[in-house]
Structure formats: structure tokens, C-alpha cells
Amino acid sequence: MIKTDKRRLLLLAVTAICLLAILIPITAQAATLRVGSRGDDVKTLQTKLKRWGYYSGEIDGIFGSGTREAVEYFQRSNGLTPDGIVGPATLQALGMSGGSSGGSSSGSSGGSEGSSNDNDLYLLARLVYGEARGEPYKGQVAVAAVVLNRVKSSAFPNSISGVIYQSGAFDVVADGQINLSPDETAIRAARDAMNGWDPTGGCLFYYNPATSTNEWMLSKPVLLTIGNHSFFK
């Protein structure tokens, strides 16, 4: 009798804890930065925004209205809700989701020259990072080259953002990985592709033969394989 009671007690306790455990991460907010925040995290934030050309003020570690505007600009440019508050999604897009305040100073250096196609370059780099990080460098350039080949093709939209955000075109757009902040390699790969390097010989498609279930793709003759991706026209 006492034994079953204990068991019931235990069961009840476990159930209650489980339910609460589901609730806590939903309601609890991760560390956010907003107007009034101060410290090293704000400094890191300002440094990143400045390097990417979103912020022109001083890196003083104080989240003021200038920083808020820069954050909103960044959020708008990266498909996030422009609320001026740096929450988990924005932190992730900034590449600051590790939580530590240091360690993030080695970020990108390629994308902030203020030329007219910076946005395109950065968007392309994000696609490369989402789709092909972990692939050999040539494979990353090849993914960027496929996007650019599509831009030039009559069968696809004729702009980089049109091609990348075309309905159903890239999985990383659907699952949000496109909003991860790209590493230096991805930016460099996007840049090399925009400067003309096309390792694919004009391909318009690629897939991962190990994971793809798309019959139409699998039926096409493969032109070349780089890393995990098979490319075709």
C-alpha cells in the first residue's frame, strides 16, 4: 500500500515536472538586448552592425536610439520582425547566440564596402552558408554559381533575391537556416562566384543524392559531383 502510494507520488511529481519543463522555455526569455542595455554584449553587437554597415555611431557599449535603429535595419534586411529588440532570433542571425560576450570578434570582413550589391552578396553568402557549410570550398562556390546561373536563365526570376526566395526553391529558406549569419568562407565563396568563378559549367540545379527524394531531380543526368552535391543543367 505504502509502496504504491510512493510510486503514485513519484509519478505525479514527474508528470508535473515534465509539464513545467515544457512551459519554462516557452515563457522564459533568453538574454535579450534592448534600449538601456549596457556591457560587452552591446559592444559586440555594435561592432558587428558597424562592420556590416548597419550602424554608424560609436561603439560605446550603450544601447541607445542609434543602436536601436541599426538593429531594426538589420532585422528588416534579414527577414526578422523589426522591433529593435535583440532576442534569440536576432542574436542567432548576428552569430551571437553562443551567449558568451567575447569570442565573436573574428566575424566577417567581406561584406561592408558600401557598394551597391552588398545586400546581394550578403544574401548569397547566407544561402551558401545555409545550404553548403561543411562542403568543400569549391562546393560552396558552386552553390552560389547555381543561383547566379539561374538569374541569367529565362526559366527563373532575374534577380538574386528573386531566385533565392522563389517558392519552394531552397530548403534553407523554408526552415529558416537562411537567416544564420554566414562565416567568412561563405562570404568569400559568394564573392568568388559573383566575380565569375563557376565550377559547375553552367548548372541550374543540385541535390544531395543521399537525402533527396525528388524524383524529377533524381531522373536527371548528373554533370558533376562536388562533395555531397550532384549538379545538373
Binding site: R8, L23, A155, G168
Partner: protein
């Protein structure tokens, strides 16, 4: 006492916590459901809007084409052709937003893109004084028919009601074989009901431009082993073969990956054994524009490599600096004329001055000995065609690509206006102002747009 606490805990506190947790989870679930429904509605409305915009654009295109068949003056024709070009741009943008995946939208997208491209080429022809031939008029008539049936098909999509999110995955709307409009005249098509007229014209998206064959390759086909010898001579390392890539220029692909993380990638064309492209990493990370003397050293290193590879008359046109490398564009010259289509890009390592990248695709596509026309217009007269507010800084002769299949001999004027730099091309035979570029001097080089 102990028993009593246990009882209170068991009978009141724990069930209370459980009920509270359940209520919270339930409330949260409802919130989430409402939120998901909102998102679903917003997304579906955007899909509806895309279909709506698309069918509007198509109906407008149809009516513009109809008007085009009715007008006679070049001025009206140009206005209407320009309207077609604008509408096609809008339609292409809507096309990319409708929830249909690639193979289904391929033909429709091609149709809409090429219609705009074709209209634009007719604009250029009309402006230069051409009249439309009977053939052009027949084509326009055919385009009008296609626009009408496509617009109906698209509008019908909206009338059919729901556009579920799932249609993104499995939809084959435009490539279906039945004939929903019941017009019947296209029903004999094998692939689908929508059949589009073939457009023969010269523009960036035309069928002929997309099927252009490389002109610059000469010589016999080589074997993979011969290609490997050439590639190893250039890279200086022992390479792994990745086979023949049958791209727009068939080439043998080789790569090298060192244990220290160094790598090299190279492709050698099957015909003639030329470098199609070659890449290896830079040793440094230098960014930004160098001193002039430094830039000259990069240029000379690149030129020397080009000469070694058999590229004789090359002229540097512009440069960018990023990621430890200088990327310099070289165009071929013939006599004193710059051939802008015949482009070779060379990456030079800023620390070692070694050539670490070559992209000869453009050159191999277009380089042949040109039959250059005579520059019949005297340079002074060409200069007089330049807008008076511009300061002319230099002048040269250049053959520039106007469309994928036509090039024109032009005077190239580098000019400035209120701190901005421009390049203006004046046709060296007719005096027409053919092309305008704006030059942007940025931190990392000169950008021409």
C-alpha cells in the same frame, strides 16, 4: 505528522500543480493554434495576391499587345513596347511568389521573361528606325493569344478557391495536360495546354543566347592525361582527376588538397587544352585599395602570367581588392581597339605576387579575330555628341557587346560629372549614344555598373 504532510502533498498540492500546469499548457496550445492560423492566413493571402497580380499583369499584357497591333506610329509603338517590358518584369516577380515549384513554372516563366526581352529588343529596333515586319506582327499576334490563355488559367486558379500551403510541394498546375479554358486550339500539344510561340530575336534571355557555342576554342580535343600534364604544369602539384565536366565548355576537372589545408582547383578545356579556370587560396587577408605603385606590380605580375599562357594583347580594364587578392580584369585588344567581350580575370596574391586564380570563360566563349569596321565618324564629331555638362578625361576605341550576338565599334569616353565618373560609348559609325556606365570607386576597387 509526517504522514499528514505527505497526505496534504499527495491530495492537494501535487494535483493542484498538475491541474495548473495542464491549464497553462492548454492555454498555450490555444494561443499557438490561433497564431498558426494567423500565419497560415497571411501566407495564403500572399499567394492569392501573387496569383492576382500575375493574372492582372497577363491581362494587361494581352491588351497592350492588342493595342500594339493597332498602332502605326513609332512613338506609340515604343511607348507600348516599353509598357510590355515593364509588365513582364512585374509578372516575373509574381511568378516567383506563386506556390508552384520549378518544373511546373519553367515554361510560363520563360514565356513571360522572353516576352519582355523581345519587346525590349523591338523597342531598340524601333528607336533605331526599323519598322516591324509582317513576321513581327504575326509573332505579336501569337503572343497575345498565349497571354490570354495564360491569364485565364491563372485567374481560374483563384476562382478554384483554396490555395493550400501544400501546393508548394506537389503542384503541377501549369504543366497539367487538360484544357481548362476549353478553347481547344492548343489542345493538341503533348506537354500541356499552354503552348508558346518561339521568339526569334537577339536579347540576353533569348533561346539563341542561351544556346551560344564557344567561339574562342581552337585546336584538337585532348585526352585527360594530356590535360593533367597541362594542369600540373600550372599548379605545380600532383592532381587528383574528377573527370570530364560537360558544361557549356567541356573541360577536365582536377583538384589538389594538401594536408596543411592548402588546395587548388583547375579545369582544362577538352578542345585545345586551355585553362578554363584555376583557383587557389590567397596567403594573406589584405583588404582595401593599394597604392598605385603596388597596383602596378600586381598588374605586371598578371600580365606576365597571361603572356606565358599565350594571351598576347591584353589590357587591364579594372580591378578589385579583397580577401588578400587583387582581381584584375583584362580585355583583349585588336590593333588599337579594346574587345570588351574577350575578358580574362586574373587573381594575384597580394603578398607573394603569385597568380592564384584565372577565369578565361568569357574569352574562350567569344575570342576570334574580328572583322572590325572603319571608324567612319571623326573623333571630334563623336566628342560633340557627349552631353555638354560632362568633362571628358580620355578617349579610346572599343568593341562593346550590345546584345549577346551583336557588337558595335564605339568611341569610349571616360567622363566626370560633379564628382561621379562615367563611361559613355558613342557609335564610331553612326554617332549614336550606345551605352552609359557609371563607375563607382569604392574601398576595394573600381566597380562598373
Amino acid at each position: 505528522m509526517e504522514e499528514k504532510t505527505k497526505n496534504i502533498l499527495r491530495n492537494y498540492v501535487l494535483p493542484g500543480v498538475l491541474v495548473l500546469a495542464l491549464v497553462l499548457v492548454g492555454w498555450w496550445g490555444l494561443e499557438q493554434r490561433a497564431l498558426a492560423a494567423d500565419y497560415k492566413n497571411i501566407t495564403e493571402s500572399m499567394y492569392r495576391r501573387a496569383y492576382g497580380d500575375l493574372s492582372d499583369s497577363l491581362y494587361d499584357m494581352e491588351s497592350t499587345l492588342a493595342k500594339l497591333l493597332a498602332v502605326n506610329s513609332p512613338a506609340q509603338r515604343v511607348l507600348l513596347l516599353d509598357e510590355l517590358w515593364r509588365l513582364s518584369g512585374g509578372a516575373v516577380s509574381s511568378m516567383s511568389q506563386i506556390p508552384s515549384a520549378f518544373p511546373d513554372t519553367e515554361e510560363v516563366n520563360r514565356f513571360v521573361v522572353r516576352l519582355g526581352d523581345y519587346a525590349h529588343s523591338l523597342t531598340k529596333r524601333t528607336i533605331s528606325g526599323d519598322t516591324l515586319s509582317q513576321e513581327d506582327l504575326d509573332t505579336l499576334k501569337g503572343l497575345r493569344e498565349s497571354c490570354r490563355s495564360l491569364a485565364q488559367r491563372t485567374a481560374q486558379r483563384l476562382e478554384e478557391g483554396d490555395i493550400p500551403l501544400e501546393s508548394l510541394e506537389a503542384d503541377a498546375y501549369y504543366s497539367q495536360t487538360q484544357d481548362p479554358a476549353g478553347t481547344g486550339d492548343n489542345a493538341q500539344g503533348e506537354e500541356g495546354i499552354l503552348e508558346f510561340p518561339t521568339l526569334i530575336y537577339d536579347g540576353p534571355f533569348s533561346e539563341s543566347a542561351e544556346k551560344l557555342e564557344p567561339k574562342g576554342l581552337t585546336g584538337q580535343d585532348i585526352t585527360e592525361e594530356e590535360a593533367r600534364a597541362i594542369a600540373e604544369g600550372i599548379t605545380g602539384c600532383s592532381l587528383q582527376s574528377n573527370g570530364l565536366v560537360e558544361g557549356s565548355i567541356p573541360a577536365y576537372d582536377f583538384s589538389y588538397a594538401g594536408e596543411d589545408g592548402s588546395w587548388a582547383e583547375i579545369e582544362i578545356t577538352r578542345q585545345g587544352g586551355a585553362i578554363l579556370w584555376y583557383m587557389k587560396p590567397a596567403s594573406g587577408n589584405a583588404e582595401g585599395k593599394p597604392e598605385d605603385s603596388e597596383a602596378r606590380r600586381y598588374r605586371n605580375a598578371a600580365l606576365q602570367k597571361l603572356r606565358e599562357l599565350g594571351y598576347e594583347n591584353m589590357q587591364a580594364t579594372y580591378a578589385q581588392y579583397y580577401g588578400g587578392a587583387a582581381l584584375i580584369n583584362f580585355a583583349a585588344t585588336q590593333g588599337d581597339v579594346i574587345l570588351y567581350s574577350d575578358l580574362v580575370k586574373v587573381w594575384v596574391d597580394r603578398e607573394t605576387l603569385e597568380v592564384i586564380g584565372i577565369d578565361a570563360r568569357n574569352y574562350l566563349f567569344s575570342h576570334v579575330e574580328r572583322a572590325l569596321p572603319e571608324a567612319t565618324l571623326p573623333p571630334e564629331e563623336a566628342e560633340a555628341k557627349i552631353a555638354p555638362q560632362l568633362n571628358i578625361e580620355s578617349r579610346a576605341l572599343a568593341l562593346i557587346p550590345i546584345t549577346p550576338e551583336t557588337e558595335r565599334l564605339c568611341y569610349e569616353f571616360k567622363c566626370t560629372l560633379e564628382g561621379d565618373s562615367y563611361i559613355i560609348y558613342i557609335n564610331a559609325e553612326t554617332g549614336a549614344e550606345e551605352q552609359v556606365f557609371r563607375i563607382i570607386d569604392s574601398e576595394d576597387g573600381t566597380l562598373v555598373i
